[in-house]
Amino acid sequence: MKADRLRRFIDVHAWAGMISGLILFVAFFAGAINVFHHELHHWQALPAERVQPLDQDVFLERLIQRFPSAAERLFFQPGDDPAAMWKQDGEWRTAYASNFVTGGDFVEQPSSELADFINQLHYQLAIPAGGGLLNIGMTLMGFIAVLYGVALFSGLVIHWPKIGKELLALRHQGNVRRYWKNLHNLIGVVSLPFHLIMSITGAAMGLFTVMAVLLGALVFGPQLQGVIAEETEVWPAPQAVGEPLKMSLMADYLSAARHEVPGLEVAWVEVRGYGDSQGWLDVAGSVPGYLGHHAHVVLDPMLKPLRVISPASRNLNQASLSPVYSLHFGDYGGLPLKLMYFVLGLLGCLLFVSGNILWCERRSDRTGPSRASAFLLRLTLGVCVGVVSGVAVSFWVSKAGLHSPLAEQVLWLERLVFLLVLVPLVAWSLRASPLRFSAQWLRIMPWLYLAIPLLSVLLEGGRAWREGDVLLVNLLMLAMAGILWIVSRHFRKRVRLAEPHPLWVGRLSDDHPRHLADAELE
């Protein structure tokens, strides 16, 4: 490839990566934790009451008596303490069987929504969705995913000719700057398939509404909306209210669904028109052993199957949609795959940070010290440290808050503290010496994550290691503390091995001589 063409590819790679890098850091850091969304839901909950919760059928009856609007549409989740979600006055509400105390009264327990907050941070930067057609945060993430794809494709073109050489180029001897550059390239090359999957599926999910509007306006016309509904809905919503009827037992619905799809692991049941002859139930879950593992069995209230969608029987749209979700969420290969996604997500964070830092240092070397590169370096450090620390503090508030007199306020406190940590840290990073700021916070951050499992043990005793999901989240937080400690050690090692770049020591305003990287001097 000609040198000037290669230079253009490098420029596009740098600019696209730089614009999207910080937002992608937030998405990947939250996403790495969000791989364990289900486990986090269990971790954040208060320990179950010792009293036996209601039977699932009695729970549903009581729920409909107490909240009649839930009969129209609810999502039921079977389990030790069955749960249901429904929309009331435009807001989603959740109730557990344990909320109905012995006398039949509904008592709402204080709860945490940490898992949902982390999820929202991942896919919409926790920007409130609003009630409009377009979810702003999600659409923004979709556009960022497209830029991320541009950075990936350009990176692939740049590195393809020397891909084999770069895989073996990571050495700690010699030039320290080159070590970090090689590390950036190595992570990018090794995890390229993961990143391609994330960028394409992330963009498709984030920009679904935009794409649907454009395809409708430019290509297919207004008919597209109806076709999308027809192709993606498992069954049409009931149009009219039928005769009241007594529902069968939930266990019978689950058993009928398993009869239709052997091996089905039920995740939830969508109930449309509870106690209505025109209603239906969609028993949704997974069939292990498939990449596109999602399955749905739609039943009428009398247990008659209306539709079966499973890996063995589905149309092309469902057969392509299911792997899109599986590949993005990493839920098709059990715990080992989830752990791999967790590690790849964190490596992605390292990729974005190192990319921004390399750009700042290189630009400063080529064109002399500039405010732009100093600002971006400081902003990068501030956002990264702020997000990592803010998430840790949200975990503290989620766990400690429910055991405190502020339990009722935990829902918004866990979000507020994230901002209260992030914003001052970003402001601080813009003023402080980057070297000192990083050194200080890299020393502090492992402790922030170590405190999470410690809080869990202190406040909930044996639950911290007896319940599988709680133990797993605690171990992950412990691992996070360990990873941050390793990063901190590497950072200190780099500082010992080589003189820091002028950008890192806040000498921008001095008449500092133009600094050439050792790599370029060679």
Binding site: D4, R5, R8, F9, V12, W15, V146, L147, G149, V150, L152, F153, S154, S199, I200, T201, A203, A204, L207, F208, M211, L214, L215, L218, V219, F220, G221, P222, Q223, V227, I228, E230, E231, N315, L316, N317, S320, L321, V324
Partner: protein, 85 residues
């Protein structure tokens, strides 16, 4: 600004190119909507990358505008808009 303009112009082009592919393929377009969506996204990324490579902005912009116009005219010759699925 230039990157933004290029990225915005390449989006409708990628949508219409995939629409033309849907018209050319002998299968109902409604049967592969999800693949179509993924293809639009991937094509948009590649078009966005290729369009930002040129040193000068105006030939790329002109090319994209012309490409959008030609694709829109070609789509008029198909029965996709408002036709059956």
């Amino acid at each position: 600004m230039r990157v933004l303009a290029v990225v915005l112009l390449s989006l409708p082009l990628s949508v219409m190119l995939v629409g033309l592919l849907a018209a050319a393929l002998p299968v109902p377009w409604s049967s592969w909507l999800v693949l179509m969506l993924l293809l639009v996204v991937a094509l948009w990324m590649v078009l966005g990358l290729l369009s930002t490579l040129s040193e000068r902005a105006w030939p790329v912009m002109a090319g994209l505008v012309a490409g959008n116009g030609v694709a829109a005219l070609l789509l008029q010759t198909t029965s996709l808009y408002g036709g059956g699925s």
